[in-house]
Symmetry: C2
Subunit: 201 residues, 2 copies
Amino acid sequence: MNAPLNGRTQQYHHGDLRRALLNHAAAAISESGVAKVSLRELARRAGVSHAAPTHHFGSREGLLTALAAQGFHALADLMHNAQEQTGDFAEMGVAYVQFALSHPAHFEVMFQPHLHQGDDPALLAAQQRAGELLYGAPTLPGTETRDAGIAAWSLVHGFATLWLSNALPAEQGTPPEQRARQVIRAFLDGRNNGGLAANDS
Amino acid sequence: MNAPLNGRTQQYHHGDLRRALLNHAAAAISESGVAKVSLRELARRAGVSHAAPTHHFGSREGLLTALAAQGFHALADLMHNAQEQTGDFAEMGVAYVQFALSHPAHFEVMFQPHLHQGDDPALLAAQQRAGELLYGAPTLPGTETRDAGIAAWSLVHGFATLWLSNALPAEQGTPPEQRARQVIRAFLDGRNNGGLAANDS
DNA sequence: AGCTGAATCTTGACATTGACAAGATGCCGT
DNA sequence: ACGGCATCTTGTCAATGTCAAGATTCAGCT
């Protein structure tokens, strides 16, 4: 009973409990919200004793901090790819929304500083990396204003947040990415003064 | 020791504990976040026994639900006033941001459905009232698109959220309302195709 | 191979919390 | 005055986060 060999299954000391706990945490949070997630429940799901999580993360705050850091890295990766593949500015916004909707638990934890231990170096590094990608690159096509970048970020962040909060009026089953694209386009169409309207639907 | 007479001080059975608890909750949440707020601590601050809060709100979820409802009503009031006083569309957005920044605890609770008991009639009513004001009125000046309204809401909501998350790059002590105004203007300037640019600074 | 130290996990314990039940207390209308 | 009722208290229980101490496995070194 000591053969992992594939890296995914569990060996005795469980092998890579840290990742397993993070995965279970993400799943549990997206189901029930951060509030209702307990370390002991995660331990149960992972099949370990109740104090095992504490060893890896120090505390509940520590686990959420790790989740947040993981989230910022994942977001940075995704934005990086979107930036290289499609230079399109709108598509970067769509990518941001897609991240939020496909990783709701991470997204929920990432932007609630009260849940973090703010001095964690891993979190700070991840935040900075994501921040540079979000804030360094986005000089909006026609505008050099710093405020326009913040506006764009606010737009996609707000849309994602509102969507996840179920606050947006239901539009008969339109897939979220499409609605995000519409909204972002409604934002961008105003810019680039009217002339060269986007027509690739 | 039985004279309230002014409605603010506490009489014996404390008089209006419900409101007091909501106030303490809002204060505690804006200091330490929702996660670290306990009914018992609120009871202590209010000077009542540990089970008193449960009687008024049924559960922790119930208290947060009441807070959220209160928040939606306050937001609706504020948007209503902003709409009547200044017909300016941008100022309504500024009002939205101002609400979020001046009532961070309410704002934090309002958009986390996991914290609510979703079937609470008071919450549903408050949500609907705010929703009508946020979504019914905002037909953007030059645009009839529904998406533009959502874009505007997303913008201000995202800005407020990011600000409260401390995610926005610090701009040497510029007051938030001013930055909100700048960002909203950066958003609106693009619209109204260039020609009739806004000039009321 | 064998040993030693470190990492990982378990067991046990304690204070705090949310929730419930049952009782006490003050208020209000009749 | 009195009876009903909302309000609040006291007592209790299971669940949780956290800590301490011990057990088990692993990794590196000789």
